[in-house]
């Protein structure tokens, strides 16, 4: 075991797969010699060469197309989109093309691609860097969306994503890159995609969440415990498809749910989680399912992040509403 930050765990996962499979290619804007704008690909080009880890021209759509074409030649591309706010440039390649490749070709062609991209607020980035746009991709059949919240999850999920023979969008929360260290095995391991993880067990109320909100939820759970409220925190880890089984199991135990996301209320995936619960477990509910989400405005100007982003206090408040319904 080693102590790693999430970004180190991500680099380690890519190094593992570059070593394991000669078809793995890592490319994007500044990922080569520079080692990535966040150092996620630090040292990889030096270790594996320019044929395996390389820079691209500055064009996200071209990067998406490049990945699809390389996938058609038997490679396993791991392209990077520098910030997920730039996904609009490459929406066709992701949702219009790679997500549909296996289906449209009746299984004769595939897109074994993992698109890595940072997102998330709290670090005062300029415009269109921090936006949570996972909801857009989660609506597209044919692509999985993975969002880790810990170094351990990040490594196991990224290795599993790279090995998956269908496209995966792997979103990395910028605030979690270096905010803490965690135990990460040095050897390779995978975490099954589509499986949630109970990060904290509890019996009074379930919080379903992902990304940076996992940590805000855990902090809220600690505070709530002092008031005698026992909170179970489920980290979805994969936001498409969601692990309804784990959610339902918890809901049937606690009978109360709050869904927490950093995205705006009209975005993200919280409403999908709520629909699944109400269809499958309405008779187990003691209270309506409430959401913690950002206001339905454009992502905040950086000085307004503190007042705009959902935090543990918002979560405590919503949990109390559900408890006192």
């Amino acid at each position: 075991m080693a102590q790693m930050t999430m970004i180190q765990a991500i680099t380690d996962a890519m190094r593992t797969e570059l070593k394991n499979d000669e078809n793995v290619l890592v490319f994007g804007e500044d990922v080569g010699q520079n080692g990535g704008v966040f150092r996620a690909t630090e040292g990889l080009q030096k270790e594996f060469g320019e044929d395996r880890v390389f820079d691209t021209p500055l064009a996200e759509s071209g990067i998406g197309g490049l990945a699809i074409g390389l996938g058609l030649q038997g490679y396993r591309p791991v392209p990077e989109i520098q910030f997920f706010g730039f996904v609009y440039e490459v929406m066709d390649s992701i949702s219009g093309q790679m997500a549909r490749m296996r289906y449209r070709s009746g299984g004769t062609h595939t897109s074994p691609i993992t698109v890595r991209s940072p997102f998330g607020g709290g670090v005062h980035t300029p415009e269109l860097h921090a936006d949570s746009l996972e909801g857009l991709i989660a609506q597209q059949p044919g692509v999985k969306v993975v969002i880790p919240s810990t170094p351990y999850d990040a490594k196991g999920l990224l290795i599993a994503s790279i090995r998956d023979n269908d496209p995966v969008v792997f979103l990395e929360h910028m605030k979690l890159y270096r905010s803490f260290r965690g135990e990460v095995p040095e050897e390779e391991y995978t975490i099954e995609l589509g499986k949630a993880d109970v990060k904290r067990e509890g019996k009074d109320v379930t919080i379903v969440t992902y990304g940076a909100m996992v940590h805000a939820s855990l902090k809220a759970a600690e505070e709530l415990e002092k008031d005698g409220v026992s909170v179970e925190v489920i980290d979805l880890r994969t936001v498409s498809p969601i692990d309804t089984e784990t959610i339902l199991e918890s809901v049937k135990k606690t009978n109360r749910v709050v869904v927490v996301q950093e995205a705006q209320r009209q975005a993200g995936i919280a409403s999908h989680v709520i629909s699944e619960i109400q269809e499958r477990a309405i008779l187990h509910l003691e209270a309506p399912i409430l959401r913690v989400a950002a206001p339905d405005t454009v992502y905040a100007f950086s000085e307004a992040e503190e007042v705009w982003l959902p935090n543990h206090k918002d979560i405590v408040e919503k949990v109390n509403s559900v408890m006192n319904f």
Partner: protein, 360 residues
């Protein structure tokens, strides 16, 4: 201030070998094709013209679905395809079904593509191609990736992709040729300039005098070719292929052509934007007419031979439509099983639902 437009445009004079009368006007670039190959090329063009006529008729009878007419573009589509090898990978646009057929896609599958059946898109083993791309420009960025993959694998093969004149206005068009240029990828980018993007004439797309000169923005070679001249199209594509497999990078080919029919069979009416004078002017340039004259002059082609090809085409088409009719109808469970290698939970659940429905 130095003005460069004129000097740029002068670099893109149209490349031609066979004129409208079927006479060789450029001996120097005459491709080295055997008599048999010349006849095969003519055969494919005649066959494809019949395929177009029959496809339009079958579409009108409701026996085909989506169809983008090809008549007029035989030299451009088949001359360029004839310069390829089996290991080359085709990324076609929606009008480029003929290239797929001559690359090995069975005719009945091309018809299933038209009707909207997934089996039409299942490339047989060893047929290196994607099914026709509907998103104009997407095939260009993907071709850059296929061509780079070939280069990295050390393959002596190319990725060839096609778009129209309207498609040159897309961002993906530019990104595709620029990426391929930056990586020196094994690519041939073909622009079939038929003068119109649905109803919008070519000069509404760009102020550039040629589309071939757009290659300059990517720093790659470009050439404008008489797209109604099958020998010129073949020679230019062959040249581009040789350059690419020798590591000299991608090339952009603008083929000047024309479609005699409407944009698609989905209700487009070309009389709204084209004059009959324009049609008849381009009919004089018909690639079949001039190549027929050339081959007849060489005593390589006769009416009998042509009729034989026409009969063969009609027979094949009849059989292919029958085969398409017989192919099993699609079920929702088929569509589900083509989504992922391993079905995620939501689809597993829906699979069970639809299996139950389908077994009723």
């Amino acid at each position: 201030m130095k003005h460069v437009l004129e000097s740029v445009e002068s670099q893109f004079e149209m490349f031609q070998i066979l004129n409208e009368d079927g006479k060789i006007v450029n001996k120097e670039d005459l491709p080295d094709l055997s008599d048999e190959e010349l006849k095969e090329l003519m055969k494919r063009m005649v066959y494809t013209r019949i395929l177009d006529q029959r496809s339009i008729a079958l579409n009108r009878q409701g026996r085909l679905g989506f169809y983008a007419p090809t008549a007029g573009q035989e030299a451009s589509q088949l001359g360029s395809h004839f310069a390829l090898e089996k290991e080359d990978f085709i990324l076609p646009g929606y009008r480029d079904v003929p290239q797929l057929i001559w690359h090995g896609l069975p005719l009945y599958q091309a018809f299933l593509f038209s009707r909207g059946h997934f089996h039409g898109n299942q490339m047989p083993e060893g047929v290196h191609a994607l099914s026709p791309q509907i998103i104009i420009g997407a095939q260009y960025v993907q071709a850059a990736g296929v061509g780079l993959g070939m280069k990295m694998r050390g393959k002596k093969a190319v990725a060839i992709t096609y778009t129209g004149d309207g498609g040159t206005s897309q961002g993906d068009f530019y990104e595709g040729i620029n990426f391929a240029g930056a990586y020196g990828a094994n690519c041939i980018f073909v622009v079939q300039n038929n003068g119109f993007a649905i109803s919008v004439p070519r000069d509404k797309q760009t102020a550039a005098k040629t589309l071939a000169q757009k290659a300059v923005a990517a720093g790659i070679e470009g050439i404008q070719v008489d797209g109604m001249d099958v020998l010129a199209v073949y020679a230019a594509t062959k040249h581009a292929r040789e350059r690419a497999i020798n590591g000299e990078g991608p090339m952009l080919l603008e083929l000047m052509t024309y479609r005699y029919g409407p944009h698609t069979m989905a209700g487009d009416d070309p009389t709204r934007y084209r004059t009959s004078e324009m049609d008849s002017e381009w009919e004089k340039k018909d690639p079949l007419v001039r190549f027929r004259k050339y081959l007849e002059g060489k005593k390589l082609w006769s009416e009998e031979e042509e009729n034989k090809v026409i009969e063969e085409a009609k027979e094949d088409i009849k059989n292919a439509i029958k085969e398409a009719d017989k192919y099993p109808k699609q079920k929702v469970t088929d569509l589900m099983s083509n989504m992922f290698e391993t079905l995620p939970g939501n689809l597993q659940e829906q699979m069970e639902e639809y299996k139950a429905k389908e077994s009723k």
